[in-house]
Amino acid sequence: MLLVVAVPVLGAILLPLVGRFCTCTRNTLALLMVLASLAGSLMLIGPVMSGQVIHLDFPTGFGHMMLLADRLAVFMALVSSLVGGIIVFYSWGYISHYENQNEYYFLVVLFLGAMMGLVFAANLLVLYIFWEITAIASWRLIGFFRSPAIVLRADKSFLVTFFGATMMLLGFIMVREQAGSWDLPTIKAALVGHPLTNMAVAFILLGILSKSATLPLQTWLPDAGVAPSPVTALLHAAVLVKIGVYAYARLFVVNMPMPEIWHTIVPAIAATSALVAAGAALLETDLKRLIAFSTISQIGFIFLGLSVGGELALAGGLLYILMHGVAKGGLFLCAGIIEQNTHCKDITKLGGLIKTMPVTAIAFLICTFSVIGIPPLGGFFSKYMVIAGAAQGPHLWIVLTFVGTAFLTIIYLMRVFVLVFMGEPKTKLEPEGSPVMVWSVALLALLSIAGGLLIYYPSLFATEATRQILGLIP
């Protein structure tokens, strides 16, 4: 488990050095590091599924438990490293035209490593440190193209998430005061029967919402669409925005009970966020901003699943993280191919691309169907589970809002597909992207199909993780 975190975090530093001698070795090495995380996470499946909880202790001034692997953590690590690996692979094709590649690979791998650290963190301070590493890495990555307007956007996203993180740190300090420890297991034991104070919950929630780009701290995410496409895929789809969701699960669902009122407030925030972003997506014309709005909207579904309570919804929320990561990653990477080949991001100025980019078009369509939730693709199951789980709860109006949002999802996503790929060509028709990029999107589309047809395995993992979270089994 230590290796899962350490290989990418420490290895990332090597990458710029290697890059000075041979770009090819650097690229391979970057992918290998992420794949090492994936392999490590895969190896952890066996032990955690047999009920073990692995932890790594060494005493420091702020607690002694550093890292911990349970089913939830391994699930999340698998999702992030899987999608992350494909994105790094895609970058081989995408980023090869630009400068500062050494910095790019360094930051991406560092980012993924920090994500691994965050996932396995068992201590509030460790969690905070990795949290900020991801923020710094994403700040540089969003501002990767150095023009002033773009750097301004990068600053914005950093400031918003940093604001959230500071609030969260305040919240953590309050938790420390109340529970007497930074270590999550100790906190959990101390808080049994004594929910957190409302103030602490509110502060930590601000941090989570800022990272997951949920109302009212969502606007940095569409603005961050100026980043290179693999980065937006990494940030928006697969990893960064899932950090907040994961932290919510790790902190509030697993370890720290919240006062009852928050079980209404959080779903309500999620519903508003989902609806507002879906509406905005319907009017947006910039391809990447649009997909970013869609991410905000879908994150609302995940929050609903995690916050509404109940086994079905929780398992659905976890599956949603996987299915959405894969499908949305695919959408962003397709957008990257389109953007790079046509030099145009305005969907009203595109059209007819299916003629020359059939693979990208089909991959985009499959990922679209998955996000909409059409069987046999993976998104169907997660969407059903979240809606069904929430329907068992008391908040019928909130569920109906989500049903309405699901309608909007169909409309705005099909609108994109139709405008970009169908109809009469409005730009010069460009050929497919490089084979590496096309293979990456095809792989993600295939994963979406596999996630549906082989639903048995992810579903089993998610439900087992849920049971562990809810304490139904050890």
Partner: protein, 620 residues
């Protein structure tokens, strides 16, 4: 034996992939598709003859299990679907040959068969939804490969059906929650509490929308023009009716006990009646062969919903009988339309006329199926409609009147269609038209033959297909006892109803002659209704799409989007301008205070000192 049900799902799916693999090989692909359809029919026949049984594979812990149930009802649907699939595949061989995307067409056709079989056999609600919603993909794909620009209709279909499927998903979630199980045959809910009633309503939206009822219907006429014609004969005419009405019947007979007195029953009947009338009014004024048929495909669903909604035995049996009858005659009608399209190159009624002599076999098929849909004795549509009338009259004269008015307009529009397409003056351009090839005629003739057979020998389908289907349903069995006492088979008992029907048909004929005389042509036979005061304006608005639920829905969505866009931009303003502005203002003020003047700093220090002293004094 138990594996047979898996084959019904897996074989078409696997062969569809073969068709996809060979899509560039023209004839090989078509042959693969034909093979797939034949194999599927063989499996369906074997299933039909097999004893009822169920298979169950536990899958997930949250309700989704792989549970299939073979019983007379599901076997009947699978068999019917297989029959249509084979007929339409055969028909497509000449029709789709040399067309672009014919490989994709066969691939999606077989995939639809696999999904439809799965949906019919599933006994787990989530599994049913899985197959059911999977049909969305082929629905979209099959329309999109039509003529250039068909993607607009494809998107319309996907959005409308997709929205209804999301409703159904919610309904399924609720139903499963209240019933405590997802196994359909074990679900028993009553319609007296709020929760289950809500579930019922959402499920009904899914089922009726799939069948093509209002308000999720408006993609069908558009698709009729844009999609490849065999698609119309396959999906809106046959599969979607079979599945939609099948599921509606399972909702009202298996999951919920719909009783004749309940408001849910009245609601269904009202929905049925409105669907009949609105769609048939639109059908009457169409000037395109395929669009006219498409509106009838909507209108006829109204009869089925009305029949099942009555919740009395005659109505239910009539509704189900009408389902299979409709699938046959509407599929047959679309096929005649395709044959005209292929041979004459157009389906515009203005350009057709007088082709009955040139395409006699097609015309005979059209005649039989048109008589069926209009309810002319002794064709099959007559008998099922009489049963529905019987049920409707039992529940209220108004519903009977609506159904009868619907029949009048149906007959009128088919007189107009037949007159303008097959009779009248043959134009110069159409002189060279020849009869369609045998591979297209054979399916049409078979279907027309079945229309006569199911009419004259209506005891066979009623006893072998419909009543066993009811026997296998939880709440249907009670109806069967009643049916045994009443007389549903053979010539209708109530002479009054028959007289009513005949009078209406005669009126339609009279109306047609008046119309032809006034306008001077077959195509103008309905003009006196079209341009009647009041109706004229309504028709104009409808033609402009003012009543199209899709357009209205999109407008609503856009209005909602405009509001949420404003919210989003406001929040953006708060973070981008307000927060930045406040920070700038604060630093401006602080900077103004730090002007470098020593005297000002001393004053500040003194003021601070005073505050400290005040604070200390207060504390002490």
């Amino acid at each position: 034996m138990t594996k047979l049900m898996y084959f019904a799902i897996l074989l078409p799916a696997v062969i569809s992939l073969l068709a996809l693999g060979t899509r560039k090989l023209g004839k090989v692909c078509a042959a693969t598709a034909l093979l797939g359809a034949v194999v599927n029919l063989v499996v369906a026949l074997k299933l039909f003859l097999a004893p009822a049984h169920a298979v169950h594979i536990p899958w997930t812990s949250w309700g989704l299990d792989f549970t299939l149930r073979l019983y007379p009802f599901s076997a009947f649907i699978v068999l019917a679907a297989a029959g249509f699939a084979l007929a339409i595949t055969l028909y497509s061989l000449p029709f789709m040959a040399k067309r672009e995307h014919s490989g994709l067409f066969y691939f999606q056709l077989l995939l639809s068969v696999a999904f439809a079989n799965g949906a019919a056999l599933a006994d787990n609600l989530i599994l049913l939804l899985f197959f059911w919603e999977g049909l969305l993909i082929t629905l979209y794909g099959l329309i999109a490969i039509g003529r250039p620009g068909a993607w607009k209709s494809a998107m319309k279909a996907l959005v409308l059906v997709g929205v209804s499927d999301v409703c159904m998903m919610f309904g399924i979630a609720l139903a499963g929650h209240y019933a405590g199980t997802m196994t359909i045959s074990k679900m028993h809910l009553v319609l007296t509490q709020t929760g289950p009633t809500l579930a019922f309503l959402f499920l009904i939206v899914g089922a009726t929308a799939k069948a093509g009822a209002l308000p999720f219907h408006s993609w069908i006429p558009d698709a009729a023009v844009d999609a490849p014609l065999p698609f119309m004969a396959l999906m809106p005419a046959a599969f979607e009716k079979l599945l939609g009405i099948y599921f509606l019947a399972r909702i009202t007979l298996d999951i919920f006990a719909l009783t004749p007195g309940s408001w849910c029953s009245t609601l269904l009947m009202t929905l049925g009646a409105i669907t009949i009338l609105v769609a048939v009014m639109m059908a009457l004024i169409q000037k395109d062969y395929k669009r006219l048929l498409a509106y009838h495909a909507i209108s006829q669903v109204g009869y089925m919903i009305l029949g099942i909604g009555t919740a009395v035995p005659a109505g239910i049996v009539g509704g189900l009988f009408h389902m299979i009858n409709h699938a046959m005659y509407k599929s047959g009608l679309f096929l005649t339309g395709g044959s005209v399209e292929r041979q004459a190159g157009t389906t515009d009624l203005n350009k057709l006329g007088g082709i009955a002599r040139l395409m006699p076999v097609t015309f005979i098929c059209f005649f039989v199926t048109a008589c069926s849909i209009s309810g002319v004795p002794p064709f099959n549509g007559f008998f099922s409609k009489e049963l529905i009338y019987d049920g409707a009259l039992e529940r209220g004269g108004i519903f009977y009147a609506a159904a009868l008015l619907g029949s009048f307009l149906t007959a009128a529009s088919f007189l107009k269609l037949g007159h303008s397409a097959y009779f009248g003056k043959l134009s110069e351009a159409n002189k060279g038209i020849k009869e369609a090839p045998w591979a297209m005629l054979l399916p049409m003739l078979t279907i027309a033959g079945f229309c006569i057979f199911f009419g004259v020998f209506n005891a066979v389908p009623l006893h072998k297909l419909i009543i066993p289907a009811l026997t296998g349903s939880s709440f249907g069995a009670a109806h069967v006892e009643e049916i045994a006492k009443t007389h549903l088979v053979g010539w209708p008992v109530s002479t009054l109803l028959v007289v009513g029907t005949l009078v209406v048909l005669a009126l339609a004929l009279l109306n047609h002659f008046i119309g032809v005389k006034r306008s001077g042509s077959g195509i103008g036979a309905a003009d006196h209704i079209h341009y009647a005061p009041g109706l004229h304006q309504a028709y104009d608005a409808a033609e402009k799409g003012w009543f199209d639920p899709y357009e209205i829905g999109l407008k609503l969505a856009r209005a909602l989007a405009a509001v949420t866009w404003g919210v989003d931009r406001f929040i953006n303003w708060v973070s981008d301008s307000l927060a930045v502005g406040l920070t700038a203002m604060f630093s401006y003020i602080v900077r103004a205070l730090h002007n470098g003047s020593l005297s000002v700093y001393i004053w500040w220090a003194l003021a601070g000192l005073v505050l400290v002293i005040v604070f200390l004094v207060k504390v002490n």
